[in-house]
Symmetry: C2
Subunit: 260 residues, 2 copies
DNA sequence: TAGTATTTGTACGTATGTATA
DNA sequence: TTATACATACGTACAAATACT
């Protein structure tokens, strides 16, 4: 029995853990230590059953745990089974959002963070934007020029505005900064989506277009500090349009985010 | 059959999901919408089997999913079963750390974030520190005065230094800011722990003590901007002691964090 | 297009472990 | 100590999805 492998010698009088958790932890450790890459295959269930000397349900619970963490994906059929997956930003943010049900946060507090992260994002992408990025950025500006007429048009408009920032996140060399910006964007989207106040003023849109233009300009001249400053103004401007600081703020992510 | 309850009418031609995921999602949604609080009980397994019209293994996989997410905790015995749990910071950070195995981040990039978050943390706690907080802060300074002699002493010293910042996090009214600071601290701890360079210079410690003193002073006078500035200096100072920017940096969280 | 083999997903029955009274 | 109520673990059987012929 390879059952003994489960016992971690480092914790002598080990706390009582569930078997499936121990197995999940061992597999996770193996993924990290063996340097497995996305789409690398894990052994199939019968082999894992053999390796760990436990039942199928235990193995399946362990794989479920890893699946929820976003570390593996399962598929059926021939050549199926568990494969290592790159933990996606969407999943990470989904898991993160759970935290804020029990530790409520409102949109004013989100903007307190956005004032920090977005300017740094703007500064950090300088020198990392390729032609394809610039092309994509310009494209969002083109699309924003059309003055929406109906609700669907405004929704699309909003989406394009957010896209500008997502392109920057793509180019950001610091993955933690990128993730924080993604989370903040998601929080803002969520708020706008639930408040249903989709028809923001055209003046707001015009201001945004102008800021985006000035940002591209700073990016092109390779001026990180100017990019930072313009983005700072941009965030403050958006804040003044979107926030009603005196109104009571409802918690962000009061409803759960989809995990896939 | 209450099986129909599983079908979300909003997504007409719903994508094919696993039953257990659908059940997990429904339970999660229920927790949020019903406003359940930590330690509130969920129905027991037989009742859930009945409610969702599916088998025990499906229900157990769903509960496992929620457990991994940190939303519920299971217990055996009479009056046992699944109870709602407040998603802990430790679990959130553990799940978050998985992301960075596939999107590597080094300590220089961590400090890029720390320069943003810690000063904001210092400013944000002004007016939120109670006597107990001040007492705890002063206590860490007392403990830091002893010049460590052995490795264990230095480890303790480090721990106390970090504790100062954790007390601030406790008092921070913005949960996202608090979480980010926690994550950054964890990353720094991890790095110091693995590098094994536990014996940092005494000059570094003395500088830290001085900064901490000046921070407490700013907190007492209710001067948020001064607190921000002092903390900014503090972070830059620590950076200059800890970082060797020209050396190749190994990725942070190359080994997985414990989830409990 | 249909058929078949492979592998996970779901179901059910039973036994074991554990915490409470 | 015993009984009870609950989760945890195991084993087998079958359904469903996928890839390949």
């Amino acid at each position: 029995m390879q059952n003994d492998d489960l016992v971690d010698p480092s914790q002598k009088a080990a706390i009582k853990r569930k078997r499936s958790d121990a197995v999940a932890d061992r597999i996770r450790r193996h993924i990290f230590q063996a340097g497995l890459k996305p789409s690398d295959r894990l052994p199939q269930e019968p082999q894992l059953i053999d390796m760990f000397g436990c039942s199928r349900s235990t193995i399946r619970e362990a794989l479920k745990s890893l699946e929820v963490q976003g570390l593996v994906q399962n598929s059926t059929g021939p050549a199926g089974g568990a494969r290592v997956a790159s933990v996606s930003p969407a999943r990470t943010i989904g898991l993160l959002s759970n935290y804020f049900y029990f530790h409520p946060i409102n949109i004013v507090q989100i903007y307190q963070i956005r004032r920090l992260t977005e300017p740094e994002l703007a500064a950090s992408v300088v020198g990392h934007l390729r032609d394809s990025h610039f092309a994509a950025l310009e494209r969002t500006i083109e699309e924003q020029h059309e003055h929406p007429t109906d609700a669907a048009g405004w929704a699309h408009h909003r989406k394009v505005e957010v896209e500008f920032h997502e392109i920057l996140i793509e180019a950001c060399p610091n993955p933690l900064l990128g993730l924080m910006c993604r989370f903040v964007n998601e929080a803002i989207n969520w708020t706008i989506g639930t408040v249903g106040d989709n028809e923001l003023s055209w003046a707001f849109s015009c201001a945004n277009i102008d800021y985006h233009r000035r940002l591209i300009d700073a990016f092109r001249s390779g001026d990180a500090e100017r990019a930072r400053e313009v983005m700072h103004e941009h965030v403050l401007s958006a804040e003044s349009f979107l926030l009603r600081p005196n109104e009571p703020q409802q918690p962000v992510f009061a409803e759960p985010l989809q995990l896939d």
